[in-house]
Symmetry: none
Subunit: 214 residues, 4 copies
DNA sequence: GATGAATGAGTCTTCATTCAT
DNA sequence: GATGAATGAAGACTCATTCAT
């Protein structure tokens, strides 16, 4: 178990360094110095620098994937809203606990490699799929308006990524409030509800929102 | 003007290479080989690799910044919705015309450098500001519901970044439809309007959306 | 201690190469090839080419500085002449033992760098100071004639530098004889003593030296 | 004659730049920028950088060589001392008028090249020869003490080079006084004449100079 | 003759990885 | 298993020189 502890220690320091400098500017010397191991020892634990990075990335993607669950409709499930809220809370919780991992995933993982790019793409697609399936279910249940649920899923993904990025950068956020804002935005957008009710955007020409000021 | 043309040629090839490989994996040899110039010639046009990259990034940020305009309320302005739609169209248009530049900005520019990171951060803040001021105006005009407009602005930014990222990756998108989906999502969210009308989310406990399936 | 030996080996080869080619024409490839090490190994021992050169120069300046001592007047000191002679012997001995270091110092160190130029300037000033203070003492003791001791000090420095330069270039010198010639020249100049005795140059118009041949 | 004027102009600027930066750090761009000519034009006037430098060096060596003349004994010649003094004045005059050329010769010319090194060596040998032949004549005329005139010649050369170096670096020198100090030093050394009269150094054990303080 | 854009050989330096101890 | 000295491929950048206009 000694081995696992040492390995974890390297991962811990590498995480920090990758988050701050990105993959290329972070170097093995930095990592082993921080981790307090010898150069050769590093290669006993990791095949190479890339594999180390990959492992960190996998950790981030894996944990997040677990924390995001498809909305289910079953007698013993919480309300869709609460399931949604719980998803967001789990994500934000992770981001706050693992700022460095979040930074790695959001800022430093793209464009390193065909393989990694694909891995990240698949992750996001998977998340988007969960969202989309939840939306499709919502449409069936008459909770979600008719729309291109694939695109809507990516919209939601974009909202979460952006807010999460803000949270990971800035310490001073009320994460509970942010979750509620995301929920409100995702569910009802920014327009005043009464301007939209019963009307698609395209046909809502009469509403004040959409006409020029006089 | 010959000089500008040659410089532009280098920029053109470099753009492609940076977009595909990212800053670090792209090397000068790649660029000059593609551009068909000698090593020294490169340094006739650009002080160094970084400056070349910086210029491409500035081009992306600059063009996008110009294409995104604050919503104005004046007798001779189009409706807010049309202004919004026009913004989105201009952005998507740029992204489709400059896929590589978009990829550079979205995937390869972060974490290279304190200076560049700051530049990008400022760019997004500026965009977020435009959105926020538009939202604030909307609130004043009773078009936009009461909310934390800063957070909402970042939500919108997130939506656009994500969809734009999709567009830049995938050729096969109906950009007009995407714009409309973004509009619909940003304005009204995903929930069926009648479930929300006249009620904040928090107090809408009675509505079917929010209760568990029976 | 292995490390020091390897470092010393690099220094040894670098010394030779710098002495022959000068700083700029000597390249790292030369040095590592001669030293029989890999490129990267070089940078294990030296931060860069300049630091290597600086170290060699410092070695030369340091050793010479130690070998040149101010003339002291004390009951247990050798005669001033012997102290002088000892200084010169120590210098010549160094030069013969370290021809390359001498060549580096005399021929290749000037004009590389503000910092190095200053370092060399300070070294010579320090030597000149030692000589001047010795001369001042000599004046006090009525051993040295009244003169601008600063200028005289630089004259002596010039003599030593030039002869030392000759020695370092040419193998075939009787160093003992050279030291005595330097001593004789520095003490009594080239004029026949009887032509100068009791008279300053300026007023020695009657002496045969200074009049035109008849 | 236009050509010669332009050429001279380049030489003038190059002189300054070589003097300040040395051969390697001075670059063609510096020179042509200062001289106000195009890059290609430079190569109309000079085969290459080295030839330009060589020409400047030759100029220095040539002028100095002309200014240093062997002491002659003839009824219509000035006294040996005056001939000596005139030599020194001509040299110092040149140095003051051509500080940059002096710096090039003294600090930046050595170690560039086998050929240039030889050229400089020959120059100094030639000067030393003139001095030596003058000394030999002085010995014949009983004006100069018996000594190794070759070594003495290099001593004198060393004195002049060092003082001239000082002069070229520092503006604030009374060149007349310096010449007299060099003369005094070269003719009579630093020892008080009465301590030396009638005695070689080796046998002067009784004199106060050479004994230890009590 | 003059120009200056283009050239490409040459240099230093970095850094992930290996391997003998 | 641990170490860290050694490796060398790879990369950015410089600059004297050329040559088409």
């Amino acid at each position: 178990m000694e081995r696992q502890a040492r390995r974890a220690n390297v991962l811990r320091h590498a995480k920090r360094i990758f988050a701050r400098k990105g993959y290329h500017r972070a170097n093995i010397t930095d990592i082993i110095t921080r981790a307090g191991i010898a150069r050769g020892t590093f290669y006993l634990y990791f095949r190479n620098k890339r594999e180390l990075f990959e492992e960190l990335l996998a950790q981030a993607l894996g944990e997040l994937n677990e924390r995001i669950r498809r909305i289910k409709m079953a007698p013993d499930e919480p309300s869709p809203l609460d399931q949604l809220r719980a998803n967001l809370h789990r994500v934000v919780e992770f981001v706050l606990a693992e700022r460095d991992l979040t930074a790695i995933m959001l800022n430093h993982a793209m464009g390193l490699d065909r393989v990694l790019d694909a891995r990240i793409g698949e992750f996001y697609d998977e998340i988007a799929n969960k969202i989309q399936r939840s939306l499709d279910l919502g449409v069936q249940m008459n909770l979600v308006r008719e729309c291109d649920t694939r695109t809507a899923a990516y919209c939601i993904l974009g909202v979460v990524k952006e807010i999460v990025g803000q949270v990971s950068r800035d310490r001073r956020h009320d994460s509970g409030a942010l979750v509620e804002e995301m929920l409100a935005f995702g569910l009802s957008g920014v327009a005043r509800p009464e301007l939209l009710s019963g009307a698609g955007i395209d046909s809502a020409e009469g509403a004040g929102f959409f006409s020029a000021a006089k």
